[in-house]
């Protein structure tokens, strides 16, 4: 029986049935549901802050009420307001968040608002009531002004992969979700490899293992098993994402963009095959790059309590990569983003994002793959040497110079 298959099988089962893996998968799935559902739920909760009571000339308030319906729920309309409206007044008028007094003066419409939170209202009021202001100033009926203020804009894509605005917005949503999954999967699974190596070292089973299995094979089998469970984890998360996207669209079907709608777009038919391929490729590249580094670092510790301090410097590039991916979502062709998309450890996040939201020149993709595969091989080589020695090192952790000496052989 192939020894690598034996280690792979044992590692795969051990990882798949381990509590940390099950917890991480469940918590990740819950997080995805939260991303899909919360924005809409919070949007509904936010209804309280949009309740207003209007005061003023009935001719003005009637028109304003219809205009404000776009963003506000007008709970009551009165002729006048007290000199200084109180919260009791707002409570008495439909628990409104604000009261607005509408009046005409030489400049047209003047609005004085009394709000529980004064930081709200100004821009939305000004936007919604602007047709009334123009109507009062020009004498043109409000309906006509509204019609003229609505400019039909049809945005068509040029030089990119998207034909129109909606497909570009959906692509960004999908890219964001995929990068988030990439971030979670790489971080969780690389740390899981780290724990596994640390367990084998601190429990002193490592020596028994390396007497039977070549350390490089042992490390390779561990990483393959972790990649396999990582794909299963991703599969669960993507399935949960699609299902919760559908559920959100059904539950909150009264329109408006949402993360749920973006998730809903994720399906075998709506995600381009090239993007799926890029996701798989950069997941594997990133996974190998980080896993070998985490494994090598774990082989140097003597107590599981030291895992955190060793993991810290390795979490840093994952977080940076994730943040840079957010920049790449908005500016995929910015020169610094293009540069970052070629750099090992960052490229899995940044280049994937660029591919998902823009047309990346083929040479840049090929260069990123070549550089990052080479970097993964280099990391694996170096990590293999450190791992081989580190597993049998007990006592004081080796100094940085000793690690370098190990790398030089």
């Amino acid at each position: 029986m192939n020894v690598m298959a034996v280690v792979f099988g044992a590692e795969f089962v051990r990882r798949l049935t381990s509590r940390p893996f099950i917890f991480a998968t469940l918590i990740g799935a819950l997080g995805i549901v939260a991303i899909a559902v919360l924005p809409r739920m919070l949007g509904n909760i936010g209804g309280d802050t949009r309740r207003v009571v209007l005061a003023g000339d009935p001719a003005l308030t009637a028109t304003a009420r219809s205009l404000l319906a776009r963003d506000f729920d007008v709970t009551d309309v009165v002729r006048t307001l007290p000199a200084q409206p109180t919260t009791a007044f707002l409570d008495a008028h439909g628990k409104a968040a604000a009261a607005a007094l509408l009046a005409r003066d030489a400049g047209g419409l003047r609005v004085t608002a009394y709000a529980r939170d004064p930081s709200e209202f100004r821009s939305a009021f000004a936007r919604d009531l602007s047709p009334l202001q123009v109507a009062l100033a020009t004498g043109v009926p409000v309906a006509a002004v509204r019609e003229h203020l609505t400019v039909p804009v049809d945005v068509r894509g040029v030089g990119g992969p998207f034909a129109d605005e909606s497909s570009a917005v959906a692509a960004k949503g999908i890219a964001y979700l995929f990068v988030f999954l990439l971030y979670l999967a790489i971080l969780l699974n690389a740390q899981s490899i780290m724990s596994s190596v640390a367990e084998e070292k601190t429990s002193r089973i490592a020596e028994l293992l390396v007497a039977s299995v070549d350390p490089s094979l042992l490390l390779a089998a561990k990483i393959l098993a972790s990649a396999a469970t990582g794909f299963i984890q991703l599969g669960v998360w993507i399935l949960v994402g699609v299902l919760s996207g559908n559920a959100v669209t059904t539950m909150f079907s009264h329109g408006g963009p949402s993360a749920g709608a973006a998730m809903n777009a994720i399906g075998p038919l709506s995600v381009p095959p090239g993007e799926i391929l890029a996701f798989i490729a950069f997941f594997l590249i990133g996974f190998v790059q980080y896993s070998v580094l985490y494994a090598a670092a774990a082989s140097l510790i003597n107590r599981t309590e030291d895992l955190g301090s060793v993991a810290m410097p390795l979490v840093f590039p994952v977080v940076v990569g994730f943040i840079l991916a957010q920049l790449a979502l908005e500016n995929p062709h910015a020169s610094n983003v293009v540069a970052f998309s070629e750099i090992p450890l960052l490229a899995p996040f940044v280049m994937f994002t660029r591919i998902a939201v823009s047309s990346v020149p083929a040479w840049q993709v090929v260069l990123a793959i070549v550089v990052n595969v080479a970097a993964a091989a280099l990391f694996a080589w170096g990590a293999g040497r450190v791992y081989r020695v580190g597993l049998l090192l007990y006592g004081r952790p080796p100094s940085f110079r000793q690690v370098l000496a190990t790398l030089r052989g």
Partner: protein, 302 residues
């Protein structure tokens, strides 16, 4: 079955030389004892035999060929620092190590069951290893090391930490492996156990071989012998004192006369002289023990 040969192997870690120059040969089916003080280089030597460490110099061969991964899978190892997967159940753990050494399923489980029975671990077979006592965990490790019926079993301090009952179980297990033709290399500070089990020995100190061979060969090279004579009379003491090269030793508990004499001193002639001087009720020529040889080899007074 093959012959293991180490030819002038050396290994350093940075500025520290763990093994300076070690050569030894383990014949097929024999048991070889590796002796030495802490830090002598025994564990490093064992790790080089198993390919865990690569020698800086010299060679390790099995039947005249370098020890590669394929050969190594026919070896077994019980390291000094014991370790098991704490959450893995006893039966699964033993079977897993069997598979790592090429025992395919379902033979791995069948053999695991046989070892569990043999070592009296039946009631723990389905329990995670972390729940077992230290002694029982050690038994599990022995099973892990020997399940695949290795041609060579390397045991680093196999008796350390074992209570007398478990030590006896291990001793019997090792004897059974010897009968089965497995070559054994073991280190131990329990001299009597090594003397009882081993066919040949190698004393290592400071990373070099200080003495090696069978016990008879090691004794043959010992320069003196101890003679004990009863009763402790002045006449007999005078004869012993007059023997060239003789040196009085502290008397044993029995109160007999004890003298160290040159190894080449003729015992029959000495006995004749003693009998001529007075009544002799006991005359015993004591061979040096392994402990004596060990202490002398590493530079301590015997």
């Amino acid at each position: 079955m093959g012959t293991l040969v180490l030819s002038r192997v050396a290994r350093s870690f940075g500025s520290v030389t763990a093994v300076r120059d070690v050569s030894l040969a383990v014949e097929p089916g024999t048991t070889f004892g590796l002796l030495g003080p802490n830090g002598a280089g025994k564990t490093t030597t064992m790790r080089m035999i198993l390919g865990i460490l690569v020698p800086d110099r010299g060679a390790v061969t099995w039947d005249g060929k370098p020890v590669d991964g394929r050969v190594r899978r026919r070896f077994g190892y019980l390291p000094e620092e014991r370790g098991l997967y704490g959450k893995l159940k006893v039966r699964e753990q033993i079977a897993y190590f069997g598979r790592l050494h090429g025992i395919a399923s379902p033979d791995d489980e069948r053999r695991a069951d046989a070892w569990i029975e043999r070592l009296g671990l039946g009631e723990y077979a389905a329990r995670p290893c972390a729940e077992l006592s230290k002694g029982n965990q050690q038994k599990v490790q022995v099973a892990c090391a020997a399940l695949h019926e290795p041609e060579l079993l390397v045991l680093d301090e196999p008796f350390s930490g074992l209570d007398p009952v478990n030590a006896q179980v291990l001793l019997e297990t090792l004897r059974s492996l010897q009968r089965g033709g497995t070559s054994l290399i073991m280190s131990s500070h329990q001299m009597w156990q090594l003397e009882d089990l081993c066919d040949a020995f190698c004393v290592i100190a400071g990373g070099t071989v200080r003495a090696s061979g069978t016990l008879a060969q090691l004794r043959a090279g010992w320069p003196t012998r101890v003679v004990e004579v009863d009763p402790a009379t002045d006449e007999l003491r005078r004869v012993l004192e007059a023997t060239p090269g003789a040196r009085a030793l502290p008397p044993p508990e029995s109160g007999a006369l004890a003298y160290e004499v040159p190894a080449d001193a003729d015992p029959a002639a000495l006995l004749r002289r003693l009998v001529g001087a007075g009544d002799v009720t006991r005359f015993e020529r004591v061979e040096p023990s392994l402990r004596d040889i060990y202490l002398r080899a590493i530079g301590e007074a015997a």
